[in-house]
């Protein structure tokens, strides 16, 4: 990527491109500055051999939509939230961070990495653990939380008039035990790849880059594997995501935002997040037939009650009154699910497993789909006996980043 073409709009809001680049250099903490600006030295990962496809597969970073949403579901995912550092009051510093993040993301997703300084007394720019692993379909997806715009009732950076139409703080939902420390946040970053180490490496370097402007608030990691081309299963053992919309036309209807949003937000989406702890041991002691009653689907085939095959339409009259499928289906709302399972050792107090689902859903109208659905399920889902929602978040995911632009550029300029 030619860094000189970044940030073409000069002098907006009183920040010259030069100042911005200077700040980027500072924020970047040691990215080599070329004579003409940010001539970041890049290095290809060494792997060009005929190694397995996962090692070389890349997903384009730039495009009309952000990658990592309708992109084929990778095996590993990290979801992290950042808060803007309390010392930052100047929007130019945030722009500088988004420029650095864009540069870094465009680099890493293409299987490249930043070169180190020739001065060996300096810390390395790249942390090196993903060397020779390739891009492994790495995607990096950025979003902004409600608190990015308004915090404590204040318009933090003079951007509140650009607030996405459907972005709110998450309302209270029945049946949740939220931990604020692992919920919400000013910015969210979803990092996915088919090699966990590649995904972690990317997020780690984003965190390192951001420190001082945006600081990591929480980080979750998950995994999800399914047979090729088939719906993967969650830790309850059921297929998860059967009803997902897969054709581009339906995705336009369900996932991507349209002309009712501020310009910078069109062609984006909203990331709805719930960390759903599963009461695994209790579930494992429940009878097979009750488990199917709870879901409203056959455990093996994924078929709805009264059906033989997974993708046959749900017959509402055959559904138990409080089954998960009946309630979710009954709302008539559609969302695009992109969840990951998680495990985190055992719970010290009980010796039970700490495991569950990082429920991630993308939709263009969360206030009309994601949130109403949560409300209905929170009140009466039969699954609630086996779950506890422990974290939450809603983030506006802006449109895709065009080549030579940077993340959320049109929010600022």
């Amino acid at each position: 990527m030619d860094r000189d073409d970044l940030s073409t709009s000069e002098q907006k809001k009183g920040y010259s491109r030069r100042e911005m680049l200077k700040m980027t250099a500072l924020a970047g903490g040691g990215i080599a500055l070329g004579a003409s600006g940010l001539g970041t030295a890049l290095e290809l990962f060494g792997n060009t051999g005929a190694a397995d496809a996962a090692k070389t597969a890349t997903v384009p970073f730039f495009g009309s939509h952000q990658a990592g949403i309708t992109t084929a579901h990778q095996s590993y995912g990290y979801l992290a939230a950042f808060d803007i550092d309390p010392s930052i009051h100047d929007v130019a510093k945030i722009m500088a961070l988004f420029i650095s993040w864009t540069r870094l993301s465009a680099t890493l997703t293409q299987g490249k990495r930043e070169a180190n300084s020739s001065n060996k007394e300096l810390p390395p720019n790249d942390t090196n653990e993903a060397r020779d692993l390739g891009a492994a379909n790495l995607t990096i997806t950025f979003g902004l939380g409600h608190s990015f715009f308004i915090k404590g009732g204040k318009d933090r950076f003079g951007l509140a008039n650009q607030m996405p139409k459907q972005l709110t703080a998450m309302p209270k939902i029945a049946h949740e035990t939220l931990d604020p420390a692992i919920s919400n946040g000013d910015i969210c970053v979803q990092v996915c790849a088919d090699i966990q180490q590649v995904a972690f490496h990317a997020l780690r370097n984003l965190i390192k880059e951001a420190l001082g402007t945006a600081n990591i608030r929480w980080m979750e990691s998950g995994f999800l594997n399914g047979p090729k081309g088939k719906t993967p299963r969650n830790l309850f053992g059921f297929k998860d995501g059967t009803a997902n919309v897969t054709d581009p036309e339906s995705q336009n209807e369900v996932v991507w935002t349209g002309s009712d949003e501020p310009k910078w937000m069109r062609g984006g989406s909203y990331l709805g997040y719930r960390k759903i702890k599963m009461i695994i041991e209790t579930w494992d002691r429940d009878s097979y037939s009750d488990q199917e009653q709870v879901f409203g689907r056959k455990k093996d085939s994924g078929a709805a009650f009264g059906r033989k095959h997974e993708h046959e339409p749900v017959i509402m009259s055959k559904q138990p009154a409080d089954s998960h499928v009946r309630l979710a289906h009954g709302t008539g709302k559609k969302i695009f699910r992109r969840a990951y399972s998680y495990t985190n050792g055992i719970q010290a107090a009980t010796g039970n497993l700490d495991a569950g689902l990082l429920f991630i859903a993308y939709q263009n109208k969360p206030q009309d789909s994601f949130i109403p659905m949560l409300r209905v399920l929170g009140k009466s889902d039969a699954l609630n006996e086996y779950t506890d929602h422990v974290a939450t978040g809603l983030f506006a995911v802006p449109a895709g980043i065009k080549k030579n632009d940077y993340f959320a550029q049109h929010l600022f300029e």
Partner: protein, 385 residues
């Protein structure tokens, strides 16, 4: 540390920096003699105001007028911040000296109960430094000389800390040997400050650092555990000094050996900068977690001392940073200020900060975050090499 590489290193560095010097052209006549003489010179003006405010502070100190002491202590700081960048650019050697006296004055003036005697000492010293600055010549020495000067400056700082360590360990050791638990508790923290500031020096003498400063989890055989923390445990966990006499004697002997070793200690510029990073890393790993002072919970005192010690390195390196890294120096300077300001929330006196166990998770995270920001910037000081 790696003194043997010093000469080679200095040569290499001089070569590397040569283009920078030639680029500066005629300004590079060694010691080109410009002072802040003209009355319109902002450094001259700023320093004159500083002197006026400092003499008002001295009057207030004489009268023991706490309100006025705090007022002028703060005003001096505001005045200093208003023109310090110019001083740092042109008179980096004097800059570091002024900061050394001005900053404790400011810190004290923020406390409910300022230490008047200490402020007097610092205020007197500040007067002398300000007068020196008015007649000082702009620092234009060669980079190689600058780095030697930086190391010398830092070593004299470290020597002072170690001398103070010896001086303040003596009464502590006496109280321990007298079996006076309360007095020993009271005297425990002060030598800790001096030790933590100069720790990278102590760490270069093999067994001395563990003998003086090991925590219980650092040793494999607790019966051979010695030093400050062994006595700390006796004081706060056992509340008894029974059998501690031998540990007190050993501590005193070790601290004296440290002082002796330090007198002939040589340091390379790289090792000096690495030492600053070690201090911040210490602060970020064992102090911020409450592991260092696990019985007395005085971790914040040590944490501040580590940061002070790394600041001394930064200050010594300013002349070198001024060669092309002024933005970095500026950012580091701001972050030290932000860090110290945040610590004031927990500071009651130099030796008395909030008990670590009384801090909320959010407060600890906030301190940790400021420390990380500082550490990230300080790691970039290696750009001078």
């Amino acid at each position: 540390m790696k003194h043997q590489k010093k000469i080679v290193f200095l040569l290499v560095m001089a070569l590397l920096l040569l283009p920078v010097i030639t680029a500066c052209g005629s300004a590079q006549k060694s010691g080109s003699e410009k002072t802040a003489q003209s009355t319109s010179d902002p450094v001259k003006q700023g320093t004159t105001k500083m002197k006026q405010l400092n003499s008002k502070l001295q009057d207030a100190l004489k009268k023991n007028d706490v309100a006025a002491i705090k007022k002028y202590g703060k005003q001096i700081n505001t005045q200093w911040l208003s023109y310090e960048n110019g001083v740092r650019d042109r008179f980096p050697l004097q800059y570091a000296k002024i900061e050394r006296y001005q900053q404790p004055i400011y810190a004290q003036s923020n406390l409910a109960d300022p230490d008047v005697a200490q402020m007097k000492e610092n205020s007197d010293a500040l007067t002398g430094q300000l007068s020196d600055l008015l007649t000082a010549k702009e620092t234009k020495s060669k980079p190689s000389k600058q780095m030697n000067q930086a190391v010398d400056d830092y070593l004299s700082y470290a020597d002072e800390q170690i001398d103070m360590l010896v001086k303040t360990t003596k009464p502590f050791v006496k109280a321990v040997k007298d079996g006076d638990v309360e007095k020993a508790k009271e005297l425990y923290t002060l030598p800790r400050i001096y030790y933590e500031r100069a720790e990278p020096i102590a760490e270069s003498f093999g067994d001395l650092d563990p003998a003086i400063d090991a925590r219980i989890n650092d040793v494999d055989d607790v019966s051979k555990w010695t030093g400050f923390h062994e006595i700390e445990r006796a004081l706060w966990e056992k509340n008894s000094l029974k059998g501690q006499g031998k540990y007190a004697d050993k501590l005193m002997a070790d601290v004296l050996s440290l002082q002796k070793e330090a007198q002939s200690f040589k340091l390379t510029p790289k090792a000096m900068v690495a030492g600053a990073m070690e201090l911040l890393e210490e602060a970020a790993t064992s102090k911020i977690t409450g592991e260092e002072e696990r019985y007395s919970h005085t971790d914040l005192v040590d944490l501040q001392a580590n940061v002070d010690g790394s600041k001394a390195v930064y200050q010594a390196a300013i002349p070198a940073l001024n060669n092309g890294h002024k933005d970095l120096a500026n950012a580091i300077d701001k972050q030290f200020q932000a860090f110290d300001k945040q610590m004031l929330k927990y500071k009651k006196s130099d030796t008395n900060y909030e008990d670590y166990t009384k801090l909320s998770k959010e407060q600890i995270r906030e301190i940790s975050n400021e420390l990380s920001k500082l550490s990230k910037l300080m790691a970039q000081t290696a750009k001078i090499f």
